[in-house]
């Protein structure tokens, strides 16, 4: 049986380092090629030696697909393509292709320049790697080679995030990457058609969560910011440069616009400006509102949000500042935080999760005195708020996607094992499909039942149609006779005659003969006559002929009567029928065995 094999090299029962190998119909595909945030050693990148111990990966992989630009989905790409060695095509969407190198470069800078690591990929390698990228459009079917085709669907999550359908023949796999089923301020919801893949590989970050409506969170956020600004306080929002930051910017920008507020909003510069530029360009990837209004005004051309300068932090009066990094552990956000922490009118809003040990984590847990380097302590008087804005599908969203795509099998990645377990049970219970959750390095095989396409000759089809009812009835299967020719990798169903002709064979006839002994006192011809009348009365709808040379012919069945030499009353009836009329022939023989009516 054909099967699809899936081996996660990363993200199997884990979050981070997404890298999944899929073998389908003899093709090998790598889905995502990410790095792990939690490690600084070799475990940072997927273990490519699983694919091959030595040498390049090119001959083992048919293509690599990157779902979106987050580093845990594309961080290992230059390493794989340039340092391990891969020259095949890498597929990603246009926005991903545009933004990915910015992030990779940033990542490289931090690791090499700041941490001083050696043996890391260089800027040139990033450039070389990006040259191998083939861009994808939404809903565009791309032929990787003659058999393998891929198609991207919108996934929400971040700009340019895509779900990919991989198809070989009639077998198909859908990989979701990270996706979001509820729209947000700048992106729409993920959507897929009812493609019924053999396997759906889905992320499951929030496998055990059902989230509250986004509106409440947004409203809370805006209310807090608004109140602080009205009080004359300053608001610090530590963010990571891409993704959520843009959402929050749009949120604040539209709010400022709506409410006619005047307080300045700043964004600490850096790669954000470059990224914003791309957000402006890829309007088609955003949500309905932005797409509809960009003719009047591109929402990413912020009116109220200006670039931040270090000196602004000391300006009097209210202001809102977005600053990187998001966990307040270093950089500009920490600098500003130190300046503003002493005033209770100010506020800091943490829009995401903070790792243990960072300043962000400490203040979220209510610590009021922070120890700074150089034995100085910092009193935290400003208000600390937490506001979660994440863009992954929750349990309900995942179920909704399954309902949309109707897969035959499910495979969960990118989540914690315990949470996956719960979701797996639910999926199996509610959709009654099998669900898998392999760990890293563990291979899952899924047996598929691919349909084999057969060309049927038109003549044969028409003939069959003429025989049966007027329309093929979807509810009832129909049988038909034909000859299956397997030749040069193609399957054809043709009529027997044509098959014979094509193959240059002559037709053989297979006939069955059978003798039936019958006690009958009449003469041979009379017996035959009686058989004729008997059959005529029994088989009304068949053509029965009494031929003058002493035979009765029913369709293709020949009946002859001879009397045996010894006993004149014992008549031997000779039946002969062709293979095709087997049914009728055996019926006749049993009928005649019962004897003739007197």
């Amino acid at each position: 049986m054909p099967e699809i094999r899936v081996t996660p090299l990363g993200a199997g029962q884990d979050v981070g380092r997404s890298c999944i190998l899929v073998s389908i119909g003899g093709k090998n595909i790598m889905l995502d090629c990410g790095m792990h945030m939690g490690y600084n050693d070799d475990r940072r990148f997927p273990d490519f030696s699983y694919i091959t111990q030595n040498g390049r990966l090119t001959e083992f992989l048919d293509c690599v697909i990157i779902s979106h630009f987050h580093l845990d989905h594309c961080g290992a790409l230059p390493y794989m393509s340039e340092m391990v060695g891969y020259d095949g095509p890498i597929y990603m969407t246009h926005p991903t292709k545009a933004i990915c190198p910015i992030l990779l470069e940033d990542f490289r800078k931090i690791t090499v320049d700041k941490k001083g690591e050696t043996n890391f990929f260089t800027s040139q390698m990033i450039k070389d790697c990006m040259k191998k990228v083939v861009p994808l459009n939404l809903h565009q079917t791309v032929q990787v080679d003659e058999e393998l085709e891929i198609k991207a669907y919108y996934a929400g999550h971040v700009l340019g995030a895509a779900m990919v359908q991989i198809k070989v023949g009639s077998e198909s796999v859908v990989y979701t990457g990270d996706y979001n089923m509820t729209p947000d301020r700048h992106l729409g919801a993920a959507w897929i058609d009812k493609c019924r893949p053999d396997l759906l590989i889905s992320e499951s970050t929030y496998a055990t969560t059902i989230r509250d409506s986004k509106r409440c969170r947004e409203r809370d956020f805006l209310k807090k910011v608004h109140e602080t600004v009205e009080r004359g306080g300053k608001v610090l929002i530590p963010v990571f440069a891409l993704g959520r930051a843009q959402e929050l910017c749009i949120l604040l920008e539209t709010f400022w616009e709506r409410m006619n507020l005047k307080a300045p909003i700043y964004f600490s510069t850096g790669l954000t400006e470059k990224a914003n530029h791309y957000y402006k360009l890829f309007i088609t990837w955003t949500n309905q509102k932005i797409r509809k209004t960009f003719v009047q005004r591109n929402m990413f051309e912020f009116k109220h949000i200006k670039a931040f300068d270090r000196s602004y932090a000391d300006n009097p009066g209210p202001m809102v500042v977005f600053a990187t990094p998001g966990m307040l552990h270093a950089g500009q956000s920490l600098l500003i935080f130190k300046k503003w922490a002493g005033n209770e009118k100010n506020m800091v809003i943490m829009p995401g999760y903070c790792v243990q040990g960072t300043v962000g984590h400490k203040i979220l847990n209510g610590q009021k005195k922070l120890e700074m380097e150089g034995r100085a302590t910092l009193d935290v008087k400003l208000q600390v708020e937490y506001m979660s804005f994440s863009a992954h599908a929750d349990a309900k969203g995942i179920m909704q996607l399954i309902r949309m795509a109707e897969p035959r099998n499910m495979l969960l990645v990118h989540g914690e094992a315990k949470k996956m377990e719960f979701l797996k049970d639910k999926i199996e219970q509610e959709f009654s499909i099998s669900c898998y959750m392999p760990a890293n390095g563990e291979t899952t095989s899924i047996v598929t039942n691919p349909s084999v396409p057969v060309d049927i000759s038109l003549n044969l089809l028409k003939r069959e149609m003429a025989l049966g009812g007027p329309l093929p009835d979807a509810k009832r299967p129909r049988t038909m006779h034909g000859t299956l020719i397997m030749k040069d990798d193609s399957l054809r169903l043709v009529s027997p005659e044509q098959a014979l002709k094509e193959l240059g064979l002559s037709e053989h006839q297979l006939r069955f003969t059978c003798r039936v002994l019958l006690h009958d006192p009449h003469s041979d011809t009379d017996t035959l006559g009686r058989i004729y009348t008997h059959l005529k009365s029994v088989l009304k709808s068949y053509s029965i002929q009494h031929v003058s040379d002493g035979t009765v012919i029913v369709e293709s069945i020949v009946i002859k009567v001879t009397s045996s030499a010894e006993e004149p009353n014992l008549k031997v009836i000779l039946l002969s029928w062709s293979y095709q009329d087997e049914e009728l022939g055996s019926f006749l023989s049993t009928l005649l065995k019962k004897g003739l009516p007197s």
Partner: protein
């Protein structure tokens, strides 16, 4: 060359046969007679050398209308060519032409049925077949009562249902849907028994429902649509197809799902109470609940078209049980397998526990109890959270429909209204303004059922700072109708409204109005905060606030309105408050009610009178109105002495009544105006000039002719300014108008000498009389002894006689005719408009450079104006007499309430330089055209082109002043060089 020749032939044919039809003189309509039309077509088609040519001819032919009597001939010719034609596209066009022709008014297509059916038998091309079936459908729908024909058509359709081409099957299903009732009549009584149903022909419904499983999605859609069509035509759909329809909800194709949702909804409305089993368990539920659950499921469909439809339909399922209804707002939250409370629940709890502010700590929404894993149902079977999804949808169309559906359901269920409140309030923060606006409107509509909690009010009030004026005004409107729970809420609302006032001073009126209602609604809540509001102190005198401060006025409006139903409140007022009351009561009487103030006798006395009129006197006023009308109707001849006095008094009375009783203002004004017309007419007829010699009466003439013109103007006002008129009243008005026109005619005849001129006027007048007859044929019995009736009697004579005789006849009829009494219709409203902005009080001229434009903001309310988008114009009158009429954009009209329209627009002004600032006048006009009154302009029968058909009536267009003019000071400065 050939083309030229053909043109010639065609021209000749049409030339010979041109005939001027007699009935419609002004239009001079040309009519082609039968032989020419069909013959020309015949020749064209015969000459056509190629199929493209023939097609071109047919297309040209289709652009011109064909008269009913020549249709049959044309059809014959077309059919003849149909059989000869070998090209599919030409045959297709012929088939479609046959359909179009059978739609011609006055043509009964039963004579072509046979031929059309015959063509089907020999047709090979599927596309043409489909078109022919379409033609048959048209023919069938033209002959709804010919049972035999319809039966034949249905048989034909059933026969072709087995076609392999989807288009043919589609058309057959459509035909069955539109025509198929015969096999199974609607009423069960006609069935003779069970035996009757087992006839060889199966009933239409089961035939159609067989195609629910068709392999082609288009055919499946057509089948469902056909079924819906049957339902629309009043045929009872059987419940048996419910299961099939439900299965189609999970079809792969969106158009099928979309149609299936409708089908399920129709069934749920037909059989709400029947019981259906729940699959995979042996429980049973009501069908309406089951289908509600299924439609709810479709709110999270993959296609937004289906989602919109599902959300819309949910709103109309009022029979659903409350248990299911409330599930739609249910969303169990969970975090790491622990049950989590929603933000709404938390807000409610916080409110209940008395704690203010939320979200100070991280993880204050931390999940508490552990969720039983087996109990969590992730996929919503049924209604669970349908609206939660709908309101969070990506497409705003879905969100708007969900909001509307919520509104409709909440209006019928108070408990649901209470529940959906949180969600609606959340929608105030939607990113799209339309959705925000819609949800504010919806909340207003259901506000009778609900009381806002403090935290909810807080969210609502936050929207007051919105920069969009529409949003703010909608919110003010909402606050007018809202109930709040505590005095803090009142204070909160007041503070926010005052903030709004300082931020957007233009909202002044709206904010005051809002506070008026807020105060009147919650007197007991206002009472405890009065000292604080008026900043009074038990011992010390506080400084007197500035009376011109809009914020202070706002507070006073709130307090005074609350004091109206709270007699203890005035005791808390300080002296200056009373003074201010007197001032405000005078200057803003619509906002400040009458108060019974201790020690203020003089105001109290006059107040009592007014309040006495206010409440119980509507009925008596109505009686008074009736009485005056009856009194007037007792007059038969207005020339009797005293009659005119009576009329004058009645007019005065009515006008006064209209001022006093606003409910009857429309009717009273209407009657007064009508009587005024009569009075004018009588007076004019009594003038001596009729007996005078022609040359002497020039001076008198002027007086009478102004009277005539005035009557004409008044009749237009009567006809177009008042809404709610019945045909009879309009006919009466027209009668008066005819009288006025007759008067004018007589005057012209007497003052002008040339016969030619009079001739033209006479013709015009006769046309008017004719059109009256056409329009008001049925009303004629009411016009005994009237001017019109007499005229119509004399009509044959009139048309024949000379102008001068005509004038004489008119003169006598005018004097003899009886005065027609007005029968008062039920509800008459006078259209009116007030310009709120500009106020006309500003002394600062609007300065701009001459030759350039300046935009003037106009804000006006219109009441009882029908179709304001097309009729209301803005007129700008410059001091030099120049007048501009500006048509506001349709988008500038908003409808805040029934019968009320708000016009907010900008008018562009420009002029050459002036030496000093001067005032211009701005006013609103109501445009009318006499042809647009009750007559429907007959449209060309069967195709789109209008050429050769001028509008039937030369319409009189004009304008009526709708509002008082407002003066605006402007100053165009000369350009500096």
């Amino acid at each position: 060359m050939a083309a030229h020749l053909k043109k010639r032939v065609y021209e000749e044919f049409s030339k010979v046969s041109q005939q001027v039809t007699l009935e419609e003189v002004p239009a001079k309509k040309l009519r082609l007679t039968k032989p020419s039309k069909s013959a020309a077509l015949h020749i064209d088609l015969c000459k056509a050398s190629s199929p493209t040519d023939a097609l071109q001819h047919l297309l040209n032919f289709a652009r011109k209308p064909v008269e009913a009597e020549s249709v049959e001939g044309v059809v014959r010719i077309l059919l003849e060519h149909y059989y000869k034609e070998s090209d599919n596209s030409v045959r297709l066009k012929i088939a479609s032409l046959l359909g179009l022709l059978s739609k011609t008014q006055g043509f009964s297509p039963d004579c072509v049925v046979d031929d059309a059916i015959n063509t089907l038998n020999s047709e090979k091309s599927n596309q043409v077949l489909a078109q022919l079936l379409d033609t048959l459908l048209i023919i069938g729908s033209q002959l709804p009562d010919k049972i035999a024909v319809i039966q034949r058509l249905i048989d034909v359709a059933c026969k072709h249902l087995s076609s392999t081409y989807f288009g043919v099957r589609n058309k057959c299903l459509q035909l069955l849907g539109c025509l198929g009732t015969v096999d199974k009549p609607l009423s069960k009584e006609t069935d003779t028994g069970p035996g009757a149903q087992t006839s060889p022909v199966r009933d239409v419904q089961s035939v159609i429902s067989d195609f629910f499983q068709d392999q082609d999605p288009r055919v499946r859609t057509a089948a469902i649509k056909a079924m819906l069509q049957l339902h629309e035509r009043g045929m009872k759909i059987q419940q048996t197809i419910y299961n099939q329809a439900c299965k189609l909800l999970s079809d792969d194709y969106e158009q099928v799902r979309s149609a299936a949702v409708q089908m399920v909804w129709v069934l749920s409305q037909l059989y709400p109470e029947s019981i259906v089993p729940i699959p995979s368990s042996n429980e049973e539920i009501r069908l309406v609940d089951d289908s509600f659950g299924k439609i709810c499921h479709m709110v999270s469909d993959g296609s937004w078209v289906v989602r919109v439809q599902a959300a819309k339909l949910l709103g109309s399922m009022h029979q659903v049980s409350p248990h299911f209804l409330e599930q739609t707002l249910d969303k169990k939250l969970m975090s790491d397998l622990r049950r989590k409370r929603t933000a709404h629940e938390r807000a409610k709890e916080l409110y209940a526990s008395g704690e203010f502010s939320s979200g100070r700590r991280w993880a204050d929404d931390a999940p508490k109890e552990k969720v039983d894993t087996s109990g969590v149902n992730l996929i919503d079977s049924g209604a669970c959270g349908a609206f939660v999804h709908g309101l969070e949808d990506e497409m705003y169309e879905v969100r708007i429909s969900a909001v509307e559906a919520l509104c409709s359901l909440a209006q019928s269920s108070p408990s649901f209204a209470e529940k959906c409140l949180d969600f609606l309030v959340d929608m105030f923060n939607d990113e799209i303004e339309e959705v925000r606006l819609q949800s504010i409107h919806v909340l207003r509509q259901i506000s009778t059922h609900i009381t806002l909690r403090e935290d909810q009010l807080d969210t609502v009030l936050a929207v007051l700072e919105d920069s969009s004026r529409d949003i703010r005004e909608a919110l003010h409107e909402l606050l007018c109708y809202t109930n709040v729970s505590t005095k803090d809420c009142i204070q909160l609302a007041l503070v926010e409204l005052l903030k709004n006032l300082t931020k957007y001073p233009t909202d002044r009126n709206s904010v005051w109005k809002c506070l008026k209602f807020l105060g009147a609604r919650h007197p007991t809540l206002v009472l405890p905060i009065v000292p604080e509001l008026l900043s009074t102190h038990p011992y010390f005198d506080t400084p007197e606030p500035d009376m011109d401060d809009p914020a202070y006025i706002a507070v006073l409006v709130l307090v005074f309105n609350a004091a109206k139903s709270c007699p203890t409140m005035p005791a808390l007022f300080s002296d200056h408050t009373f003074r201010h009351y007197a001032y405000l009561r005078d200057s803003l009487s619509h906002l400040v009610p009458h108060l019974r103030l201790p020690g203020r006798k003089q105001t109290a006395g006059s107040g009592l009178e007014v309040s006495g009129v206010g409440s119980g006197s509507l009925e008596s006023a109505q009686n008074f109105l009736q009485d005056s009308l009856i009194r007037v109707s007792a007059l038969h001849n207005l020339e009797t002495p005293g009659a005119q006095d009576l009329l004058e008094f009645t007019i005065r009375d009515l006008q006064r009544l209209g001022e006093l009783q606003t409910e009857l203002a429309g009717s009273a004004d209407f009657c007064a105006t009508y009587l005024h017309c009569q009075l004018l007419l009588t007076k004019a007829l009594q003038e001596k000039l009729w007996t005078m010699a022609v040359p002497l009466c020039l001076k008198q003439n002027a007086k009478v002719s102004t009277a005539a013109r005035q009557i004409l103007d008044e009749t237009y006002k009567l006809e177009f300014l008042y809404s709610g008129l019945e045909t009879q009243q309009i006919a009466t008005i027209h009668n008066v108008r005819l009288q006025a026109k007759a008067l004018q005619l007589i005057l012209t005849a007497r003052s002008k000498q040339g016969v030619d001129r009079v001739l033209g006027v006479c013709e015009k007048f006769l046309q008017d009389v004719e059109s009256f007859q056409r329009l008001f044929m049925i009303e004629l019995p009411h016009f005994q002894d009237s001017f019109v009736e007499k005229l119509l009697e004399l009509m044959p004579r009139l048309t024949a006689c000379k102008p001068l005789d005509l004038v004489k006849i008119l003169q006598t009829t005018l004097r003899q005719s009886r005065f027609i009494h007005l029968k008062l219709p039920e509800q008459i409203h006078r259209a009116s408009a007030t310009i709120i902005e500009p106020t006309g009080e500003s002394d600062n001229p609007l300065k701009f450079t001459s030759g350039l434009v300046v935009a003037l903001d106009i804000d006006a309310t219109l009441e009882h104006v029908q179709d304001p988008q097309t009729t209301v114009k803005v007129q700008v009158l410059y001091p030099d007499g120049q007048s501009h009429i500006i048509h506001p954009k349709p988008g500038d009209f908003r409808t805040p309430g029934p019968g009320r329209v708000r016009l907010i627009t900008q008018v562009y002004l420009s002029h050459s330089a002036w030496t000093e600032a001067c005032q211009i006048e701005v006013r609103l006009l109501l445009a009318y055209s006499s042809s647009s009154s009750k007559q429907s302009v007959s449209k060309p029968a069967w195709n789109e082109s209008m050429d050769g058909l001028p509008s039937s009536e030369s319409c009189i267009e004009g304008t009526i002043h709708l509002s008082k003019p407002v003066k605006v000071f402007i100053m165009p400065k000369p350009t500096r060089r």
